[in-house]
Symmetry: D2
């Protein structure tokens, strides 16, 4: 559905980088949820560009809730959040607007919208449109939390430098998620984080950019969410994650490493501890047959290097198709992986909340087990 | 939408492994498409278990088209295909039905359906349900072909043994797709294929199983398909691919390798050759900003090893939750990657056809470029 | 979504009047529902043609459940019901197939499907496709009943002859619904029913046909179902009802009579009796602001006269467009209103069940009132 | 989908009567459509309250387009329109906020949103939310017009006073639609219009209100739009129309009058004039079998009297449920039928545009007739 997603929490985003405002509408929220706007602002803060490892465009990103909130609680009707654009430098784009930026959406937008798209600052394709997504995700994440479900994301890998992986043990994993919640640069091992930042600065100094891999975990998931085929947990989560610009890989549990495992090395033995069914390992990332098994969800998301680099590149003129040299102007991020973390959290929260509600709709009618059937 | 997917070609699958019949309905097909039932049967044949590297359950998989076809052409009304189940050995499942099979959907199905699911042969979770998907995909693929779009898939990697990658040059890629179309064991390098088969037999002899990676390519894609955010090409394609049981990773272009590239090594320079806009490399797998750029789509799909292994495993009893040893009975595949290839092709065809129609709906109203605007 | 409807219970119908089989798939059913196949057959029996007031085509309409049912209970996976076509007289249509039948779908089907549609017996447009809908509705109605919601429909008016209206008092209304449940010709006043049947026979003798108005009631509806705008109760119910061929009018409560009332005559005073909030009158048919208020839903559905009459009519040749006289052959109903009753019940049940589940999804997260908020 | 509707043009409305702003997002618009903002303002003007026959709340309703428009043309990305609320008198609602207004959404909103809804001015249930719908409809109507399709609506009946019906002859109908386009009080016979206005003033003087019937026509419709069952033209159009608050009846062609016609009086004879297939009469309102036949669509919509009357009414206290007398305060419309006209036009335009695009998606793949098949 284009710029709209969700079956229960219907999320619509709108806006252009240099337009009047960007925003998001959440339709289908339950009524009576207290919105912690302070925490929403913290999340937006974590998405913001900071220091030398980010773009020098600094937007205030003040979320204005124009509907759906009354006396601090959701009303149950559509909640719309606006953010005004203020720090545009549209002239940065004037000079090079006829040269297609490699690996950007310039050419594809032009083929899709036939030249009518707003090209300034990437228009609707700008990473800036993820700010309203973060505001929306902050609401979804609060609702999940109130129902016991928590999630978080760290940089697992950034151009060769690896952070440690999430812990298998759930209590340790809980602590790691808490640590990440307030981290500005989201890594589990501070030392590796420093190395990453230093590397990014070096790459930035060369006018280049880097990508990386984000590892996410969701804990205290109820078992039984998701569908056997088209709306498998993996299908829905991947759908949401791939809507983040720059994501080029999504995997679950061992992911692509499954290709080199034997079945006997890949299967997760099942056991019951203190009355709780669980698996000894969690190679399947908490999902079997498309449905949650109650173990933590473990998801890897690969972010490609930002295509806005300052090095000279080969391209063509938009309409004449003549070969051109391009040196990109403007303010750009040498890395977005640390900023993307909160966007990943946000779409994950939206996806899981939707699936949670989906299951609630069925459970309301499905209220006894086979053993009790009459 | 559970077991239903698609906005234009609405595909619904149904059936259980040991039930009366399995099937699929395609709603929204254009009228007047000649259906090549022979080719549908060839595709089903390619999905079938064969030799020592597959299960010994042999179903005829004869597709019966019960509606939507008249005098050899689609009518434009829902087309339903049925396949009767015949070679069930339900008793194979009786003995172990109370022991949860590790990394299967036994436990999750039980949590979702509260014990009412048909457990025989995996029920609705059986890989067998992919047979109707292949029949449906065969129709979608024929429609794409009539519109110039072709696609194919090979085993890129199987437990350590790698096939060569798809060619960059489009003419060579075309030939490779043609070669794959009739291949029973889908590899580009026959020698590697033999090694894979031998390895699978060895693994099978040990009662174990393997997974692998499938590489798919789609050629002659028009530019401009897909949406900037929630219905990006990647989102839609991943959604469809992840509905295939056993898929645990999906990536586009360089995929997870983007994590170690610099922007300057990841960007695809743009050029114009013989009036056609293209890129020098295709690291982005034919997609920028969620939208096709006219280059071949390149997609990698990781299939985990089949969880049905004959080695003894640790598990618990379904209701008492007591620890148990399990040795799986019945007829199972030591590898499904060669059979999964045609399923991947099928859902890819369904996904792309849907996006193709989506674009047609807009293009019908959007019929001039900005330069010509009045 | 073409031949697919529903967000929670996704219902897909397929088949042609003279094809191999017709059928329906329900995806999204809760698991563990005992299906009363006997009652499903009773409902199909009530839809069947009988006596001189109906067509002489007699199909057995035996429903075959091919999936989604295991040991008498729903599995929670797609439930598909097939009905084979047996009593076709395709030759009846050969003679006149090139003459467009007035007020039939011949011309519009031809414009939509470009001549590829199966024309025999009306093809997919046949009223026969409503038989699977009735089977599906019988399941939905059973689930509603288990949750306390009951519904029924009677012929309020048939070509000038009026039945008494549903009672205002709920206990009396309950009795009326029970009476209708087993009635073959659904009227509240037997005497009026006899007059209607006699009138239909007279009209049939003249080769003509009649339509009428069906009045439906749904009782014990929980308050709070439906949405303020696009998915108002009225929107969703009308959407389902208008999918029944021959329906040309749908209204709620006083319906079109609201046009002549003053606000003071149209408003329903609110009172509280024995702790239950209710309205003194029910002019609004149980819905305010698109949302149920707990009073019975009251819905009127107008069915046009069947267009298959034996009188000579003016029309044109399908391809040459020359003027032609047409005298329709074959076996046709002089009235379908008595048969349509059970179809109306069926789609009502499907609509309400969907809205019921929609509400459950939200209620699961929305579990305290404003007064209790913290 | 709650406050979101459409498959191609996805329309989401948001806002509360006394909140910060109300608005609408249209996602899926084609790029390159010149938006006539002047005409949008004219349409909003026609929806506005005027004179003694309307409420005395006067909002400027200035539409602010915050995204999706660039240099006067649609960009193809989501177009969001905001309208700020300025003329609220929230205190009017304070006094009576605990008394449930009869036939309003007070009680149902309370049951649905558990008391968290914004009650001021009806909150999200306010007729005011139809202003953004009109802005959205103005865009859809412009696109339809550019494709030759025109539509309009007049007051067919207002509390006993009837306007003449739309003409059968298409050229005359065209003129009538043109006349209505600029009419402030939409009737075909000025004299009847004067009588209606006088009657409304009299009713207003008594503190009462009236409803009525709107007749709409859509001309130059292509044949072949709509689906045989669930997405019949009637289903989709009724779904949109019933999302307008106060609509309680929707019918097509002869509507409920079909109940008293014989088939021979109801069928439309088919003829071919100057190469164009048409029907002698248009009893079916341009739709057969759920699909357009190329004749004008004729639709009747019944609007109930506005429930906000100044006469004393019986009701109960919101929480204590004690019986109460209520005399409504504030500024209210004694009739909304003249204002509703432009809302009906708007949702009709949105519905038809969606169906038009749906057909385009299929036609793109369906490009030859049966006679030409190979």
């Amino acid at each position: 559905m284009k710029n709209t997603i969700g079956r229960h929490i219907i999320c619509t985003i709108f806006g252009e980088s240099h337009g009047r405002a960007i925003g998001v509408t959440l339709d289908g929220l339950p009524a009576g949820i207290r919105i912690d706007e302070e925490w929403m602002r913290l999340r937006l803060e974590q998405r913001k560009a900071k220091g030398r490892i980010s773009t020098q465009r600094h937007e205030s990103d003040q979320p204005i809730i124009v509907s759906g909130l009354f006396e601090g609680y959701t009303t149950g009707t559509p909640l719309t959040i606006l953010m005004e654009n203020k720090a545009q430098h549209s002239q940065d784009y004037e000079k090079t607007k006829d040269r297609l930026r490699p690996s950007h959406a310039d050419y594809t937008a032009d083929m899709k919208y036939l030249g009518f798209q707003d090209y300034r600052g990437g228009g609707h394709f700008s990473g800036r449109i993820t700010a309203p997504l973060v505001a929306a995700g902050a609401i979804a994440q609060q609702i999940l939390k109130a129902n016991g479900i928590e999630l978080g994301t760290h940089i697992r890998k950034c151009h060769g430098i690896e952070d440690i992986a999430f812990a298998q043990a759930e209590t340790q994993l809980e602590e790691q998620l808490q640590q990440l919640a307030t981290a500005d640069f989201p890594v589990l091992d501070e030392q590796r984080g420093k190395q990453m930042k230093q590397m990014i600065e070096e790459v930035a100094a060369q006018g280049d950019s880097v990508g990386g891999i984000l590892e996410s975990a969701v804990i205290h998931m109820p078992a039984g969410l998701g569908e056997p085929f088209f709306d498998s947990m993996e299908s829905i989560i991947a759908h949401y994650l791939y809507s983040i610009p720059a994501v080029k890989g999504v995997s679950f549990g061992l992911g692509f490493d499954f290709a080199t495992r034997l079945g006997s090395e890949a299967n997760d033995a099942i056991l019951c501890e203190n009355g709780r069914v669980m698996t000894r390992t969690n190679h399947n990332g908490g999902i079997n047959g498309g449905i949650t098994n109650g173990m933590p969800l473990v998801i890897n998301t690969c972010i490609k290097p930002t295509p806005s680099i300052y090095k000279e590149q080969d391209t063509i003129h938009k309409t004449t198709h003549e070969a051109q040299k391009l040196t990109i102007q403007g303010r750009h991020d040498p890395a977005i992986i640390h900023r993307a973390r909160v966007v990943v959290d946000s779409v994950l929260a939206l996806a899981i909340l939707d699936l949670y509600m989906e299951r609630s709709a069925v459970l309301a009618l499905q209220n006894h087990r086979k053993e009790e059937k009459v």
